[in-house]
Point group: C3
C-alpha cells in the first residue's frame, strides 16, 4: 500500500515538476511544485478532518516527490518524453487517491457526502495548488477534461462500499477501478465535461 501511495505521489510530482520547468521556474520552484502537487491533496484533506498530515509523518512521503522534482529538474527532456505514459499512471494515482482519501475521511467519522467530497479533494487538490502557484486557473476547473468527475464517482462508490461494510479490497477495487477506467476511456475517446452553453451577460 505504501508503495502504491508513493507511486501516485511521484507521478503527480513529475507533473508539477514539468509544469515548473516549462514556466522557467528555478530549482526551488521545480522541487516545490513537485512536492506540492504530490502531497497537497492529502495535506488539505488531513487539515480539514483534523488529522496529523500523513505527508509529514513519514520522511519517505517528503523525500519521494522532492527526488522526483530534482530528477525532473536535471533530466526534463527525458522525463518529458514519457509524458503520454505519465497520463496513464496519473489515472491510477487519481483513482487510488480518491479512494484512499474518501476512506480516511469516512473512518474519521465524516458523513457520506463529506467523505466523497474529501476523496475528490485528495485526488485533485495537489494539482489545484500546483496551478495556483504557477499562476494559472487550475486545469481541472476549466479544460473540460473528465478528471474530477471520475474521481468523485470513484470516491462515492468507495464510501457506499464502506457504508455497506464491504471488504476493504472490494471497496478499493470497485472505487479506484471506476475512476481509473472512466478516466482512461475519457482520455482514449476524447470524452469531455460539459461547458456553459452561452456567455452570460457581463457583470
Amino acid at each position: 500500500m505504501l508503495t502504491l501511495d508513493l507511486l501516485g505521489i511521484v507521478v503527480f510530482a513529475v507533473s508539477g515538476g514539468l509544469l515548473a520547468v516549462r514556466n522557467q521556474l528555478d530549482i526551488v520552484g521545480v522541487v516545490v511544485l513537485a512536492m506540492v502537487t504530490g502531497l497537497g491533496g492529502g495535506v488539505i484533506r488531513d487539515v480539514i478532518i483534523g488529522a496529523d498530515p500523513a505527508a509529514f509523518a513519514d520522511w519517505r512521503y517528503l523525500l519521494a516527490p522532492a527526488v522526483a522534482g530534482l530528477v525532473t529538474f536535471l533530466w526534463h527532456p527525458a522525463v518529458g518524453r514519457f509524458e503520454r505514459s505519465i497520463n496513464v499512471f496519473d489515472a491510477f494515482g487519481l483513482g487510488l487517491f480518491a479512494v484512499a482519501g474518501a476512506v480516511k475521511a469516512y473512518d474519521a467519522g465524516l458523513g457520506l457526502l463529506a467523505s466523497a467530497v474529501l476523496g475528490a479533494v485528495t485526488a485533485v487538490g495537489g494539482g489545484v495548488l500546483r496551478d495556483v502557484l504557477a499562476d494559472r486557473v487550475p486545469v481541472v476547473l476549466r479544460d473540460g477534461e473528465l478528471y474530477a468527475i471520475p474521481a468523485i464517482a470513484g470516491a462515492t462508490v468507495a464510501v457506499l462500499g464502506k457504508e455497506l461494510d464491504l471488504a476493504p479490497v472490494v471497496v478499493t477495487l470497485t472505487g479506484a477501478g471506476l475512476t481509473i477506467g472512466w478516466r482512461l476511456l475519457a482520455l482514449r475517446r476524447g470524452w469531455v465535461a460539459p461547458r456553459p452553453r452561452t456567455s452570460p451577460p457581463p457583470p
Copy 2:
C-alpha cells in the same frame, strides 16, 4: 439560524458560479467555485481555531452550494439577471458571516482582536479563494469597495457585545446590522475605501 446560514452560503455560491461561467470554466469549475465561495471563509476560520469544519459536518452545507452552482451552470442567463438584487442579499450574507465567525472564534477562547479578524475572514475568505482560483487579484483587496471594512466593524461590535455579556440576539442584531447597513449605504451612495495617494518608487 440554519436557514439563514444556508441562504448566505447560497448567495455567495451564486457569485462564485457566475464568475466561473464568465471565465468560461467547465461544469466542474462552476460547481467548485460555487462551493469554495460559499464555504471557504468558514473552513479557513475553523481550520485556524482547530474546530471540525462546520461545512463538512452537515451534508446540507455541502449540498446547498453545489446545487446553487449547478443551477447557475444550467440557467446562468436568468441567474445573471438577478445580480443586482444578489448584491443586496450578499450584504446580508456578509453581515451574518462576520458575526457568526467572530462569535464562534470568541466562544473557542480567542481574544478580542483575533475574534474580530476571524469574523472578517469568515465573511470575505470564500470570495478571496474564489478569486485566487479564478486567477485574479481578490476584488476585496483592490476595488476600493467598502466590503471588508464593514465586515470587520460588525465583527468587532459583536465581539465587544460578547465581552459585555449581551444577549446573543442583541449581539447579532447590532453587529450584523452595522455591517449590512454600512454595506448597503456604501452600495447606494458609491462610498469607497481609500487608495494609496501616489505611486511608490519602482522596486
Copy 3:
C-alpha cells in the same frame, strides 16, 4: 524573543504592504497583504502540526503587521526608500523564522526532514501567500535568488542541533547564522540558484 519575532513579522509585513501599494491595491489590500506576509508562514506551519496558530494567540502578533501595513499605506514613498536596508533585515527574519519554525515542529514531535521542511515553510510561506494574492508566481519559486535554500539549510542545522541536544542558544545561533550569512553573501555577491538548462518539449 518576542521582540525579535515581532521585528521579523514587521519586516515581512512591509514587503507585503509595498507590493500591494505598487499593485494599486486599496487600503484593505495593503493591510491584508502586510498581515498575510508577516504571519502566513507561521500559520501554515501551525495548521499542519495541529497547534493553535501563535499569530492568533497574542494580539500583538496581529496588531504589529496591521500597523506596519497602515504605515506603509500612508507613507509608502518614505518606506520604499528604506527598501535596500529592508533586504538586510529580511535576511534576519528569514533566519529567525526558519529556525523557530523548525524547532517548533521538532518539539511537536515531527521527524528531522519534516521539521526542516516546516522551518523553510515558516520562513517563506508568508511571501508565497503574498504573491498568490497579488496574482503572480511566487518570487521564491522563480527568481533564482538564494532565498529558500539558505532557509532550509539553516532549518536543517537547527534540527540536527536539537537532535544532538545542543543548548537552544547554540541551535539558534548556528542555524539562523547560516541562513543569514549565506543570504547576505548571496545578496552582496549576486549568487543565484540554478535554473533548468534548456526548455523542455511543449506539453
